[in-house]
């Protein structure tokens, strides 16, 4: 058994080491890609090795060093972080495989830079997952933004540069103007006894300060607001614009970063600060969840409606992501243990489903060079694996029973029912229920037509002139793997469920 400290160090350090090795093996693609795969597998291994300890209630810690007096770069593995870290590192493995197929299949340039930035982003994601205090979380949040910037602008053309600006602009603006401000405000409060410290703590850090009057409820509410919008990666409207913009990136990047690492980092941070900084009970007591419920609900509905009118497949997936992310935020806003659990579980469920969908989109692009939904008539016959996987992903997004998406929706609805004492009374619950149900209809409305087109329409004459088969084997393997996971996880979701249950206990 590896000592936990060592495992944390390796989970963080190995991707960085891998990035170095990849950078050194430029010019030798096979070696470079072997390193990528090895790093991915090993990193997941180290993260997974922490799992037994965590479910047994241990919380391994690692202090790196003190950056400023009283401000440490330190890590603590708790169940919530474990969920995110496991998802991120597990999905990195199929994604690496997929990247190899995609990058080679499309003859992309600057492949070494691409493979170097990926593990750096993973290291950042693991850093966010395991962060023990707000400072560490902020640091890795920013490094994640910066390390993914070269991936987003990978193509280097005017479009990519412009999207890169939006990506960086929104993520940095929100994180610097809101999150950093809130963070430093909390630091200042720390000096006057308003908060108990920067470390994440069960039940939040504001309890005593609020009770003693060192923080006013207004400031408390404002800080919560700043944090929620400061975490721009959660793509809560109106700070969601970076997500569709980032779709200019190569598909593996979109798939991984914008279905898994980056966006999940956002919602993960939202859950984490709600549970461990502001405290679910405290928020409920001071009535701070209400506005968030409506913001999340509005985001879900508006994003779904926008998605309906997108013809570009990746754009539609992007808006679907925005809406799905807000399910997590909605779960948080309900402020009950079970809804937090639902939110945690949805991180996993959505990651599996959405990465499959993106993989399929990239697969279509690689094999058929198609990006628009209207071009997809009859493609299911030529690419049965891809479109089969796509269908499974779709079902997960909608939340149809034999797929994992159903589980999180189930918990979410449970949460709504349980949250009897929301600030606004019954109206809030009704609103939440309506949002969940209506959005399910919308999800079906914008996903099922794609499936219908692919399988039940015939190929156009134009398409018949350009025959093509499935995408390269690496791509197909990867997407089959994730589709299987999506299905399989409905029946056997023990690890995620256990961890989510632990999170629920930490809340309640």
């Amino acid at each position: 058994m590896i000592p936990p400290e060592m495992a944390i160090t390796l989970a963080l350090g190995l991707p960085i080491l891998g990035a170095l090795l990849i950078a050194m093996s430029r010019g030798v693609p096979n070696l470079r890609e072997t390193f990528t795969l090895l790093t991915a597998v090993a990193t997941f291994g180290f993260v997974a090795s922490l799992y037994p300890a965590v479910i047994n209630g241990a919380q391994p810690t690692l202090d790196l060093w003190q950056v400023l007096p009283g401000v440490k770069l330190s890590f603590r593995v708790e169940p919530l972080g474990m969920v995110y870290a496991l998802v991120a590192t597990l999905l990195w493995i199929p994604n690496s495989l997929y990247s190899i197929g995609y990058m080679r299949g499309n003859n992309e340039k600057h492949q070494t830079r691409f493979y170097v930035c990926f593990p750096l982003a993973i290291a950042s994601a693991v850093g966010i997952a395991f962060a023990e205090n707000l400072f560490t979380m902020f640091v890795f949040y920013e490094t994640l933004t910066l390390s993914t910037f070269p991936l987003v602008t990978h193509k280097g053309n005017t479009d990519a540069v412009k999207s890169g600006r939006i990506y960086l602009g929104i993520l940095l603006t929100t994180s610097v103007c809101f999150q950093l401000l809130a963070l430093l405000w909390i630091v200042a409060l720390q000096h006057t006894g308003g908060v108990s410290g920067l470390d994440f703590a069960s039940g939040g850090i504001f309890r005593e300060g609020l009770a003693a009057g060192a923080v006013t409820p207004a400031v408390f509410g404002l800080l919560f607001f700043l944090y929620i919008y400061g975490i721009g990666k959660a793509a809560l409207m109106p700070v969601h614009r970076w997500l569709p913009a980032a779709m200019v990136a190569p598909t593996p990047v979109s798939a991984f970063l914008h279905a898994v690492a980056v966006v999940k980092a956002g919602v993960f941070c939202v859950i984490k600060v709600t549970v461990y900084v502001f405290g679910v009970e405290t928020l409920r007591e001071y009535g701070q969840g209400g506005w968030l419920l409506y913001a999340a609900g509005a985001t879900i509905l508006i994003a779904s409606l926008i998605a309906m009118f997108q013809d570009n497949l990746k754009k539609r997936l992007a808006y679907s992501t925005i809406s799905q992310l807000s399910y997590v935020v909605l779960g948080v806003a309900l402020l009950t243990p079970i809804s937090i659990m639902a939110a945690t579980f949805h991180i996993v469920a959505h990651a599996f489903g959405k990465i499959t969908l993106f993989f399929a989109a990239g697969s279509i692009y690689t094999a058929a060079h198609k990006t628009q939904i209207s071009q997809l008539d009859g493609i299911g016959r030529r690419m049965p694996w891809t479109m089969g996987a796509f269908t499974i992903g779709t079902l997960s997004m909608i939340g149809v029973p034999p797929v994992v998406g159903f589980v999180s929706k189930w918990f979410l609805i449970n949460g709504v029912i349980e949250s009897g004492s929301l600030p606004g009374g019954h109206f809030d619950e009704v609103f939440a229920l309506v949002v969940i149900l209506f959005s399910t209809l919308l999800n079906a409305g914008y996903f099922l037509p794609i499936v219908y087109r692919a399988f039940f329409r015939t190929l156009s004459d134009e398409d018949l002139k350009h025959p093509h088969g499935e995408a390269p084997w690496a791509i197909v393997t990867a997407l089959t793997f994730t589709a299987t996971l999506t299905l399989f996880f409905f029946f056997w979701n023990q690890p995620a469920a256990t961890l989510a249950e632990l999170v629920r206990r930490a809340v309640g």
């Binding site: 003190q66 400023l68 007096p69 401000v71 960086l168 602009g169 940095l172 103007c177 200042a188």
Partner: protein, 511 residues
């Protein structure tokens, strides 16, 4: 390790070494010896200042004092070092050493051969002045050394004439404004001398304290005299510091000076100005008189600093010459420093002191990176930097890393400064200033990213000259400073220890 005898003499030697070696350079510096002598002087001074700072931090009282000519305190010139000027001293010495190493190839390409010995002599005089201002405990001595450094600076800026004749007009503008500023400082010191009858800073501070006790009762005219003196001083120092709106000399002076001179000036000259401001406000006049006397100076400073941050960054965005972008960015960064010491609390002051150091590292390194560009391309226009990321990977990488520091990305030195600054602003209840600082870092993103995009995504023109990476003597100091700016962002314990000690001494808190 060092003989006690020598260790005792370090404060005097720090100023005398560059002065005497500068003279020797002027005498025998022909035949390429000039650079070697300057390098020797810089290294000696750097070693000495580190030793001195260590002495100060471990002295228990946080002070080291040296009496020139062994004259007792109020009569002679005292060199007095506490954590504040010890830190600034090390900053100046470190930057000087690094830039001197950088200067060899860079200056040789910009200044004619037969003037090189003259250049290095003036270069050393400039250092003498800057180090002297920092170390001295005597107000008039400070003025004289300020003028030594300023005169040297005007000359150094004017030496950019070989590349662009606008260096001359920039220099004369700088000279006119700088001299007016220095005259104001002289006048201000005169007023304070008139009231206190002493020029020793500590003595002056004590006598002023005694005078303040009688304020409003026996002799109210003292109050006016002190405040008038302070007003003159403050305006004069602000000119030297390039605090908005007295910054107009700065952009051209930095842009058209030789690359090494820009790096030295940006990293040290204005920082020393900030030091003078802090020294006069906190140690001598005292915040009670300066901020809570008749005039709420700190409000003025905050308004100026806020304008500097916003307008400086905005103007930086509008520029087409990368050196000018950095020059305007310097104006904004000076705003951060000024804001720090206007907040009048521990975190704010710590931010000011630590940003003096952090920004010196970052900006020094970035100007060096542009020095490489100028060395290879002959100019620093933005459009000529297109696609340079592949041609000059090291320099442009350093520039980008420095740019991240300017923005204040976590784990760079700039972040540490902002950390203290915003915390200080919130503690002082100045939420609007906290917001301005954060908006300022976003504007920094815009002007840094404009350059970064050009460097990495731009296409080099057809037929553009093929350039290659700069010689190693230019890369080493640049990487040293940029590396340090990252190191002190990752582990800021030492710098914050010194800066907090400085803030505590200034605020009179017992450590």
């Amino acid at each position: 390790m060092i003989p006690d005898q020598l260790q005792h003499q370090i404060p005097a030697l720090i100023v005398l070494t560059p002065l005497v070696l500068g003279l020797i350079t002027a005498l025998i510096g022909r035949r390429g010896l000039g650079w070697w002598i300057a390098m020797l002087a810089s290294l000696l001074v750097f070693a000495g200042s580190i030793q001195l700072l260590i002495d100060v931090m471990h002295s228990g009282t946080y002070t080291v004092s040296y009496l020139m000519g062994n004259w007792p305190v109020p009569y002679g010139i005292e060199y007095r070092i506490d954590p504040l000027n010890g830190g600034v001293l090390c900053t100046v010495a470190l930057i000087s050493a690094a830039v001197t190493l950088f200067a060899r190839r860079s200056v040789a390409s910009e200044v004619s051969r037969d003037r090189l010995h003259f250049f290095y002599a003036v270069w050393l005089f400039c250092q003498t002045g800057l180090l002297g201002i920092t170390i001295t405990g005597d107000a008039f001595n400070l003025y004289v050394l300020l003028e030594i450094s300023s005169l040297a600076t005007y000359t150094l800026v004017a030496m950019g004439k070989g590349r662009d004749r606008r260096a001359l007009t920039a220099a004369i503008n700088y000279l006119v404004l700088g001299t007016i500023g220095a005259s104001f400082i002289l006048l201000g010191i005169g007023f304070l001398y008139m009231v206190t009858g002493t020029l020793n800073m500590m003595d002056m501070a004590e006598r002023l304290d005694a005078i303040y006790i009688t304020w409003g009762t026996a002799e109210p005219q003292y109050q006016k005299t002190v405040l008038t003196g302070f007003a003159f001083l403050f305006v004069g120092v602000s000119l030297k510091l390039a605090l908005f709106p007295l910054h107009t000399w700065l952009p051209n002076a930095y842009t058209y000076a030789p690359a090494a001179v820009s790096a030295l000036l940006a990293a040290t000259a204005t920082k020393v100005g900030a030091y003078i401001s802090i020294r006069f406000i906190y140690t001598i006049v005292g915040t009670d008189a300066a901020f809570r006397g008749a005039i709420p100076t700190h409000v003025f400073i905050m308004v100026s600093a806020g304008m500097a941050i916003l307008l400086g960054s905005y103007l930086a965005i509008k520029q087409d010459n990368v050196k000018k972008i950095l020059a305007y960015s310097s104006i904004a960064q000076i705003g951060y420093i000024a804001l720090g010491f206007a907040l009048d609390n521990k975190n704010g002051l710590t931010a000011a002191v630590i940003h003096i150091f952090n920004h010196a590292l970052t900006k020094g390194g970035m100007f060096m990176a542009l020095g490489v560009v100028a060395y290879r391309l002959g100019n620093t226009r933005l459009q000529d930097l297109r696609g340079l990321g592949r041609k000059l990977p090291v320099s442009m990488g350093a520039f980008t890393a420095g740019g991240l520091g300017l923005i204040g990305v976590p784990l760079t030195a700039g972040f540490v400064s902002k950390w203290y600054l915003v915390t200080g602003a919130i503690e002082a209840g100045r939420y609007e200033m906290a917001a301005i600082v954060l908006v300022g870092s976003l504007l920094a993103v815009v002007y840094v990213w404009r350059v970064v995009e050009t460097i990495y995504f731009g296409k080099r023109d057809e037929g553009a000259p093929n350039v290659q990476e700069a010689p190693i003597t230019m890369l080493v100091p640049m990487l040293l400073l940029i590396g340090a700016s990252i190191y002190f962002g990752v582990d800021a314990n030492t710098t914050s220890w010194i800066a907090e000690a400085a803030a505590e001494t200034l605020l009179g808190v017992q450590p």
